[in-house]
Amino acid sequence: MKQAERERFLISPFFVFFTIHCSQVGIGVLSFQRNLNEKAGHDGWISVIIAGIAAHFLIWMIYKIFQLSGSSEDVTNINIQYFGKWFGNVLNIGFVVYFLLLALIVLRLYIEVIQVSMFPLMGTWQFSLILLLLTYYTVSGGFRVVVGLCVWGVVIPLLTIFPMLFFPLEYAHYRNFLPILDHSVIDIFKGAKEVTVEYLGFEMLLMYYSFVKDGQQSHKWAQWANVFTMFIYLVVIFISTVFYNEEQIKHIIWPTLTLGKIPEIPFIERMEYIIISIYVLVVFPIICLAVWSVTRGLKRIAALKQRVSLPFILIILFIASLFFNKREEIEQLGKIVSTAGFYLLVGYIPALYMYASFMKRFKSKASIE
């Protein structure tokens, strides 16, 4: 009976496509070209593909971990199962803190975009407050509502923002790509390391896996989501490579937004205002998903009710968002989060996977003997 009751809160495997894609493409897509360009120059698109393939492997590993551990719960369970109660909970707290920081950096970065290009005089607290109030309304509706928002966060920007990116092709210099493989393999891999951060977001699957009906069946959708993310990044890097030259891109903080200034129709100019506005729909689901993951994690670790912890988390986020005012501070925070995310991806997940498969083999051997 409990199973049937729970069914109401689950999402069908298909929706994993939206949650994963939505959490991957965030604020980073506006600005990743600059860092990538520093490392890999016009060969950046190769780095994007390499990082994308790495992300495929990592997603595969996450699903394998859930399969091997035999648990269809979430990562908090698995940590305790493999690392014992004490160390496992330390890792779990690490996860919660990481998701909290993720929500914070996404929130702060987006507010920065708004402040720089739309409302220079408007205080951080206004947008922070309104976004977090909306987050409260969403997350208190449960995971299904959050996923619903993710769907909109994919569909609406895809229909409105994405087509605008193609207008600059009018001024394209396709020779910017040549010569291909101009940079050394090491440079390209360094670039790939920069881009890996942009694929971050699918690790939240570790928290909401138990909310997917027939978890393992969602694997193919997760992989398709990653393919789609890679496609979006490739399109963006392609257009920025042919539109900007290498020197130009170094001086632009948000090259994708600048691309948005190009399209013009008889009654609208400066499309980047529309892009920034609609970008709420890109950013907001990530914040909701991350905040939901935090409250869920706290529930699993400390048996804290989500309704109780949610307001506290939001207040913490609100206060924290007020502390980062200068560009350097925000960049510093961003660096911390992306480093943590990077090591979570290339360190923790493969390690857990190997440990899990080792344990499985060990156990099956023991049972045979």
Binding site: M118, F119, Y137, W152, P266, E269, R270, Y273, V280
Partner: protein
Amino acid sequence: MSIFSFLFKKNKLEKQTKTLSHLLKSLKQSSDFVHLPFQTNGHYFSIYYFDSLVDPKLLQQHVLCHLQQDLSEHSSLSIHDLQQIIPIQRIEVTADVEMIETKLLKGFAMIQLLDATDRCALINLASENLGLRQNNDSENEFSVVGPKVGFVENIGTNLHLLRRQIVTPNLIFRELTVGSMSKTKVVVAYINGIANDQTIETVIQRVSEIEFDVVFDTSLIDQMISDNSSSPFPSFVSTERIDRVIYALVGGQVAIFADGSPYVITGPSTLFDFFTSPEDYYLPWILGSFFRLIRLFGVMFSILASPIYIAVLTYHYEMIPKDLLGPIIFSRSNVPFPPTLEVLFLEITIELLREAGARLPTKVAQTLGIVGGIVIGQASVEAALTSNILLIIVSLAALASFTTPIFKMSNTIRFIRFPIIFFASFWGGVGIVFAICLLLIHLGKLQSFGNPYFVPLYPLRVKAFADSFIRSPYHLTAKRPSYLRPRTFWRYDPKKAKQKKDIDE
């Protein structure tokens, strides 16, 4: 507290021990309650009835006349013999005081034999249609093509109209009584074998749990059984059109009728149900789809036009191209207000016009339209209270909001424009998207009888798109929408309906 509970208990006790004489005594306080002592051929009767509820013709022709003439043939008379004498169907004989009370109050006459006063016969003499409309031309939900018969205030007529078109024994009416004062007859209608059992159960449970005194209209029931009563969006379609109700029933929904109300509730509803018009199905599918798309566009325009005007003119004037800047400056140069105030002024004017038009008698309302539309509009532009461009935008938005076929939904659209206007005036374009986000989340949270409201968009049901944004040809809509979880899926055989033939065959 204890005193009250004591009183309450006492009340209850009294009710239980009420006898017939008590009842008659209390009813006699009212001057329209008639006691008619009667005597023929040595039989003594008393006839009791409410003068205001009973049809005098029925009483004279079918009861009094037959009692006077035919009684002589019966030498000994028991109360059960009345059914043979009086030519009226279903004469009930009972000693239940509660039942006697409700039936008397519903327009029954009570006949009591003086020899045996404990049992009485109840005869239905209610004048069903007295003072009620006989027909309804469904002018509030008009369609040019198609039947123009609407439901009326009499529930018997309404059920008759329904059963005439759904000729199947599976059409089930379940009768309930709602309202402690009005004792309104409420009927839940569904088609057995199509409608989902769980939905039916939910509906009946919710309707029977209603605690209220007088049910004026189904819209009261609508509010009391809705899943989220603090939402501006209506949870259920309420319509006066027969074809709409039949379409809903055939699709697997449930309909709720109430006596005294020409509007019928159908549910579980989705957002798109409110934007479909029966005419979509009477026109060829291409035209039907086109008009439906126009309607949906109208809704979007109506909600977003004036907020976008505010956002662009207050914060994002860079977005206006050079060619357009000239006319805007020209029309706005004399306006002393910021765009927000300008829009609010005009929007509220339009709302006033609408509200006044709805409240005034029809003939006066026509004049009002002219006064409002031409005089106020033109004068406010000339007085430099608003700009010409805004006048066009706001009146177009008002026009677009009238395209919604269901009145409740068009009210909602009228309302939700205002929060978005405020969002836009505070945070510009970002504010508008905030508001849209809020709207999307709210719609995603809403439910109608436990069914998701925003289906087929979320949860995504690709197959149900056939009859949402567009109205697909009939061979594609042979299957009932899955989100209603109907018990049988096929409405008709699509292969027969399709019949694709080769060229020249």
